[in-house]
């Protein structure tokens, strides 16, 4: 976190200054480890075993927050009789289909819930929809869910979630953690004690994670494991608790809230599928929850359609619901690129991303780029994605010839964040407005300018069309005011866009809360969760009152969705009766008439603690007074996910796609059985064994930004880290003859890349179980992924090394754990590299 | 690296910044200034005592030395065109400022004296200028020692007591040697040269035995080789300078002129003097580059101080 989020890390240092214990669990000893109270080196890709060990420690030592767990989590819920755990099925959950490599998730549901009752058309759709969209709708709350499950508040029923958990994690002992993760029991227990001693009525603990947890074939389950642990410890909805997702870039949170994802509409509303005869009403029925705030999805969606299509959207035409594009399959990044390589995709926009070096198996990415008709690249610098056709690695090896590449590349220089107005949304859902400081130079333009101008031109082209497919463009409202700057650029007003996102009443006055949204077309709003950012006609995100001049949670610094709430589910900071768990950790409470406190209560303001709703299908009105998790269909934190996940209701440790050791917990399974794999000649997976004996993990340094598009052209950053490097332990250096600051290269079945060797005591060899009752040493190599051939500081790209294997829920690739070999010296160049790799693959038995 | 130096450092990098002064500019500047200073004094006394040859040679060497010394100094500046900024202020805390205020009038005086000598004009003014140069001459020989010593370079700073005498002796040897070289070495210059050489050798010995760890840099490496060569040249120069007169004295015969032998003596003494300056310069540079010379003595100093404090407490 200190490496990649140094600005956010100031608060960790502040907490440390006030006495917090900081523990850093990471395969690498980083700048975070340097200032942590304890660094725990872990074998890359084994965090679920570690977290599972902590869950077991909590359960076996009676350390859970009992009242919280009983009242606020789904621990008492009883699961269907036909559910089978990994303990029963040799590492698989019930419902697995080896043919498709996927699960039928029905048996994971709660018993007696109404899900099965409303079968038929709806269920069929739900099953299909679940394949692609359910993982991500949870960006703004739990998966939609219906029915009233039975429960056993004594937590003794053998099929209640609590007992299932206990059984599922029974084998995750400290000794098993040592076998799998390479963490000694002493160290593990030290972490376990620090965490549990610091999680109770008086104290809370927080987890921070970044892509080290998500970039795995079991990435979603990593986060689930942390959620289970935090739920058991009562660390959610309370100050100082929670699980903080440190995003990979500035405003990545914003780009999922108002998504750049193919399967979501703004505010985590699913993108409709190409079902026949699905209208707005049936879409809502199939996708909205019945209880809690997802119960009002119709108001969010209609307001969105009104924002987009304005007066053209009427009740009579289903508010232009049919104008929305429809999904007909998995259009996530990797399948799209593979379709490009097959010649099935004519055009591609690449905006603020650099797949030619920044995406796993970048050679495969370039293959796709080379088979397009046209490619638009908008970036600050002339990145590799715009130049692969003239000087990419395949040109050097002779595998591609410039003359043969038909892709027409348009490079459009982009304005950076200091050259335009707008907002960043950070991990804590905080929108912060940034003001333009300087005019963009030359032809550089903001994204807003580009899309506005593109939209104007497209609309002009179809203005007189009678083709029904042009109707969405014709109906689109596209009338943003522009401000002409000193250099003559007519820049659309970002402020006006934010107003549109916030939403309006029919009379044009801004909405102040999404609860004001209506499904009758009388309100509009571009992203329901952002409603309130322009409350009272004031840009709330532009507020900059310093923290020391205002309340504890700094509500007047920027604006956090939803409703400027700083701690989600903060009803959980009070006990079921509405009283704070402790004076020290109070946040919101029931004052006898309403919810009040130091944060905006995340609860219907006047729903009393003892309130029992009359109906279970009335949205927010169905929330009982003691159900803090208002976005969840059952109002509870899920220790077990009866819906919404595709690879298991409880996290289980699976090895990475490429691992040097067998799965000690589930020997019959290696990697996640539900992961997505794409075997092909250019995406071969390393076999286990001597040919790729080491583990590597990709990482960042503070000095550079992601794939380097912003930093490799910046001299004052490049001098700080001028060259690609490879981080190894002295032990591995001795084993392979590597010398500090000399060249070395890393090899996988996909490619070989070179870098300067950094030999450091910070890299620790780990001793883990070898799967045969013995132990073995695992060497882990750190490979930063900032470099590429272009810019002032150049080097090989780490993503050349990686294969594509994905988490099934969110289609994220595994970049944080894979196997490799490392050798001294530079890699072969030109056609020799192709021969070298073929030899290595042949030796490993991957090629004839 | 100093053997057996038990110390820690940051990646073996120097703690102080080694001077950016260039070779041969700065060693040459040190050597020429010293030679010029003694030559100016010799010339003035020669003038007073009616030795026109020595006067002439001394005035010319002094002027040439001063002018080229200034040239080397200017050449070494990062911004030579701003040389005159040296004359903006007179700062007693800055040996270079003080030195500039010695060098500038010295150069002017010796220049005038030499011009008078060459042109044969205004002998009175020439004598006055020569006298001025003679007064400044001794200062010319030693201010450069302060210039080096007033730095954080351990090999120079720790030698601040001895370095002026090394430079003084070295200057006397080279100034006297210059007269020998030009054939005017009989009498006072020969005595000056021999006395200077003796002073140089004695002061150098004292320096190396007194400055602690930094002495290592004076004995080893390139600086050690240069300084050994310097001592050998100086000693040989002394032998050459006194061999003739000694032989004459031994044989109780009238002193003979030995132009060639004197020239060899003068060359050796000047070579020795120049090498001494270069060696001192180099030794200092070595102590600047190696952090051990900074850390170990300072650690030792701290240890002593702490021990003293403890004693006082007891």
């Amino acid at each position: 976190m200190a490496e990649a989020h140094p600005v956010g890390f100031q608060w960790v240092m502040e907490a440390k200054r006030r006495g917090a214990t900081v523990i850093h669990v990471d395969p690498r000893f980083t700048r975070t480890s340097a200032v942590a109270d304890l660094h725990v080196p872990i074998r890359a890709g084994t965090d679920i075993a570690f977290l599972g060990g902590l869950i077991r420690y909590v359960l076996e030592n009676d350390l859970w927050f009992d009242e919280y767990v009983r009242a606020y989590t789904n621990a008492p819920m009883i699961v269907r009789e036909d559910f089978r755990d990994t303990e029963d099925l040799d590492g698989l959950f019930s419902g697995y289909d080896p043919e498709t490599g996927s699960y039928d998730v029905h048996t994971w549901q709660y018993a007696d819930a109404d899900v099965e009752a409303s079968a038929g058309f709806r269920d069929e759709q739900r099953a299909m929809a679940q394949e692609h969209e359910r993982g991500e709708i949870a960006g703004s709350g739990g998966a939609p869910f219906t029915g009233t499950p039975t429960r056993d508040d004594t937590l003794e029923h053998p099929r209640c979630v609590f007992q299932l958990l206990r059984r599922h994690y029974a084998r995750y002992t400290p000794e098993m953690v040592q076998q799998v993760c390479g963490i000694e029991p002493d160290t593990f227990l030290r972490v376990a004690r620090a965490l549990t001693d610091n999680s109770n009525r008086e104290r809370t603990s927080a987890f921070c994670y970044a892509v080290g947890w998500t970039h795995h074939t079991v990435g979603v389950q990593y986060i689930r494991a942390a959620s289970v642990l935090q739920g058991l410890l009562g660390n959610i909805g309370r100050p100082g608790g929670g699980i903080l997702a440190l995003r990979g870039h500035a405003s990545i949170q914003g780009s999922t809230d108002i998504p750049t994802l193919y399967d979501l509409l703004p505010g985590y509303i699913p993108m409709p599928h190409a079902h026949r005869e699905q209208d707005l009403a049936s879409f809502v029925v199939n996708n909205a929850g019945e209880k809690g705030y997802w119960g009002h999805m119709d108001t969010y969606l209609v307001s969105l359609l009104k924002a987009w299509f304005g007066d053209a959207a009427t009740r009579g035409n289903d508010f232009c619901f049919d104008h929305l594009p429809r999904l007909d399959g998995d259009h996530s990044s990797f399948p799209t690129v593979m379709a490009q390589a097959r010649g099935e995709v004519p055009g591609y926009f690449v905006i603020g991303e650099n797949p030619a070096v920044g995406t796993a198996n970048s050679r495969q990415q370039r293959r796709g780029l080379a088979n397009l008709e046209w490619l638009v690249v908008r970036d600050l610098n002339m990145i590799e994605t715009a130049t692969f056709w003239q000087d990419g690695p395949e040109i050097a090896t002779g595998e591609m010839v410039t003359e043969d590449i038909g892709t027409e590349v348009f490079f459009l220089p982009a304005a950076n964040h200091t050259e335009k107005d707008g907002t960043f949304t950070n991990t804590q859902r905080l929108l912060q407005w940034h003001h333009k400081a300087v005019e963009p130079p030359g032809d550089c333009r903001s994204d807003l300018w580009f899309y506005y101008e593109l939209g104007k031109r497209l609309k002009a082209r179809v203005a007189s069309s009678t083709d029904p497919r042009d109707r969405p463009l014709q109906d689109l409202t596209w009338d943003y005011p522009v401000e002409v700057g000193p250099t003559g650029i007519a820049e659309p007003s970002a402020d006006a866009v934010l107003r549109e996102i916030n939403g309006r009443h029919a009379d044009g006055t801004p909405l102040s809360s999404y609860t004001e949204m209506r499904a009758d077309g009388s309100t509009s709003g571009g992203c329901w969760i952002y409603t309130g950012v322009y409350a009272d006609g004031v840009n709330q995100s532009a507020r900059r009152r310093p923290g020391r001049e205002q309340d504890l949670l700094a509500h007047e610094w920027g604006w956090a969705w939803p409703a400027n709430r700083r701690v989600l589910y903060n009803r959980a900071s009070a006990d079921p009766d509405g009283k704070p768990w402790s004076e020290r950790k109070k946040l919101v409470w029931w004052d006898g008439e309403r919810w009040t406190g130091d944060d905006v209560p995340d609860f219907p303001a006047t729903t009393a603690p003892g309130h029992v709703p009359e109906s279970q299908t009335a949205g927010a009105a169905s929330i009982a007074g003691n159900e803090p998790f208002v976005m969840q269909g059952d109002g509870r934190a899920w220790l077990y996910a009866p819906a919404g996940l595709l690879d298991g209701p409880m996290p289980a440790h699976y090895e990475p796609q490429e691992s040097p050791v067998p799965n000690a917990l589930y020997p019959a399974q290696g990697a996640n059985p539900a992961r997505q794999q794409f075997p092909s000649p250019e995406n071969t997976y390393n076999p286990s064994g001597e040919h790729f004996p080491y583990v590597f993990t990709t990482f960042r340094v503070t000095e550079h930004h992601t794939a380097g598009g912003m930093s490799r052209w910046t001299p004052r950053l490049n001098e700080l880290f001028p060259e690609m490097f490879l981080e190894v332990s002295p032990e591995l250096a001795a084993e392979r003859g590597l010398r500090n600051n000399d060249w070395g290269h890393v090899v996988t079945a996909r490619s070989a890349i070179e870098g300067r060797i950094v030999v450091t005591d910070r890299a620790t060899p780990l001793r883990v179980g070898d799967g045969n009752g013995g132990t073995r040493v695992i060497h882990q190599i750190g490979v930063p992924w900032h470099w590429g051939p272009n810019g002032l500081s150049t080097g090989d790209a780490a993503n050349e090394l990686l294969s594509v294997a994905l988490d099934p829920n969110v289609h994220i690739m595994e970049t944080k754990a894979a196997t490799c070999d490392i050798r001294p010296g530079r890699r072969p160049r030109g056609p020799a590299l192709v021969r070298y790799l073929a030899d290595r693959r042949r030796a490993a038995g991957l090629e004839e | 690296m100093v053997p057996d130096a038990d110390f820690r450092s940051y990646h073996d990098r120097p703690i102080i910044k080694p001077p950016v002064w260039k070779v041969p500019d700065v060693p040459a500047y040190l050597y020429l200034g010293g030679t010029a200073g003694v030559s100016a004094s010799l010339a003035a006394l020669a003038d007073l005592t009616g030795r026109p040859g020595l006067r002439r040679s001394g005035r010319l060497v002094a002027a040439a030395g001063a002018v080229s010394s200034v040239a080397f100094l200017i050449h070494d500046l990062g911004r030579p065109e701003r040389f005159l900024n040296m004359m903006r202020v007179l700062k007693p805390t800055s040996p270079l400022s003080v030195g500039s205020w010695i060098l500038a009038p010295f150069g002017t005086a010796t220049g005038l004296a030499a011009a008078s000598e060459l042109a044969g004009l205004l002998p009175g003014a020439g004598r006055a200028a020569g006298a001025a140069g003679a007064v400044l001459g001794p200062a010319m020989t030693t201010y450069t020692a302060v210039l080096l010593a007033d730095t954080a370079v351990p090999g120079w700073h720790e030698a601040y007591r001895e370095l002026p005498f090394v430079f003084a002796g070295s200057a006397l040897a080279s100034g006297g040697g210059a007269a020998l070289l030009t054939g005017h070495g009989d009498g006072p210059p020969r005595r000056v040269a021999v006395a200077g050489a003796a002073l140089e050798l004695a002061a150098s010995h004292r320096l190396e035995s007194r400055i602690g760890m930094s002495a290592h840099a004076y004995r080893t490496g390139r600086a050690g080789r240069i300084l050994r060569a310097a001592r050998a040249a100086t000693a040989a120069g002394v032998v050459a300078a006194v061999a003739g007169p000694a032989a004459d004295a031994l044989h109780r015969r009238r002193p003979r002129r030995r132009r060639l032998l004197d020239a060899v003596a003068g060359l050796l003494l000047n070579g020795g003097s120049a090498a001494t300056r270069w060696g001192v310069f180099d030794a200092g540079m070595a102590t600047a580059w190696d952090p051990a010379y900074t850390v170990v003595p300072q650690r030792e100093r701290l240890r002593r101080r702490e021990a003293e404090q403890e004693e006082r407490h007891e």
Partner: protein
């Protein structure tokens, strides 16, 4: 001429400013909270428009952008275009750095942590210290003392500043600095160092590095306040068992009369590339002049004596 060494309450006044000059400001760099992000290095170069100059044997300034072979430090040290430099010190230390601190919570009774991996000595663990170095703005500044042109001055804020329109690149300040701070900028010829953002100070702003530092490792303010803050921080750390913590450059009785920019270090100064007991070289200058004068007199006497009693 001001005093050359020893404690000095007000170097600004000593330099001749009127008594109503602004108070002395400085930096307190608390390395115990430094995360090595180098934001100070970058912010400094951005604000002061300094070039990226890479690394050389003498610190920064090689004009070659390449890995220095020093782990995460690729700028080497301070230099003519590098006024802030973050050092990275990797160490193996006895496994006790994570001594449990009193958190006002139930005792944790932590067993000693040891690194995994059989190749390592069991009782050691890795420590990675980071520290942002900068010009110390000494109370008795050797660079200022020895500057022959008056280019280096004491400012009204008590800091030491190079006036680059005066500097003629004589280079004397460079070896004079006991900390190895100031250096020549290759290609320019003049000497440069931290200005404490003199231009920002004049406008009532904090220096760029302190403004950019995310963890408040670099603190800027009135020197007396910083000293009090540092004393308190040291006491806190020591009470938490951080026995290696020490203040460096804080003491007005030290060899430079105390630094305007001082540090809280977690190990001995030389580990960070700092001299353990720096002394302003001009402390000995009067003695140097005396020795030089004696030697000059010896020269005069020798020359004079040589003329005595010699036949012509």
């Amino acid at each position: 001429m001001g005093s050359l060494s020893g404690p000095l309450d007000d170097p600004t006044r000593d330099a001749g400013y009127p008594a109503d000059h602004p108070g002395r400001v400085g930096f307190f760099t608390d390395t115990s909270v430094c995360i090595g992000c180098k934001a100070c290095e970058v912010a400094c170069k951005e604000w002061n428009a300094l070039p990226a100059d890479g690394v050389s044997d003498r610190g920064a300034g090689g004009d070659v952008l390449g890995m220095a072979g020093m782990g995460y430090d690729n700028t080497g040290g301070l230099g003519g275009s590098t006024y802030r430099h973050v050092a990275f010190v990797e160490q193996r230390v006895p496994a006790s750095r994570s001594a449990p601190t009193d958190l006002g919570m139930p005792s944790m009774d932590l067993p000693g942590a040891t690194q995994s991996g059989e190749h390592r000595a069991d009782a050691t663990e890795v420590r990675w210290l980071m520290s942002s170095d900068v010009c110390k703005h000494c109370t008795h500044a050797a660079c200022l003392d020895v500057c022959p042109t008056g280019s280096l001055i004491r400012t009204e804020h008590g800091t030491v500043l190079v006036q680059s329109d005066i500097c003629n690149g004589c280079g004397y300040c460079i070896p004079a600095c006991p900390y190895g701070v100031i250096d020549q900028r290759p290609g320019d010829g003049r000497a440069f160092k931290c200005t404490m953002c003199q231009d920002r100070l004049g406008a009532g702003m904090a220096p760029a590095c302190a403004t950019a530092c995310p963890t408040e490792s670099i603190r800027f303010g009135p020197l007396d306040e910083l000293r009090a803050e540092a004393d308190a921080r040291l006491a806190t750390l020591q009470s938490h068992g951080v026995t290696g913590a020490r203040l460096y450059g804080r003491d007005p009785d030290d060899g430079v009369g105390g630094d305007g920019a001082f540090f809280l270090l977690l190990d001995e100064p030389e580990v960070y590339g700092l001299p353990p007991d720096p002394v302003v070289t001009t402390r000995d200058l009067p003695s140097m002049w005396r020795h030089a004068a004696a030697a000059a007199l010896a020269v005069a006497a020798t020359v004079g004596a040589a003329f005595v009693g010699v036949r012509r």
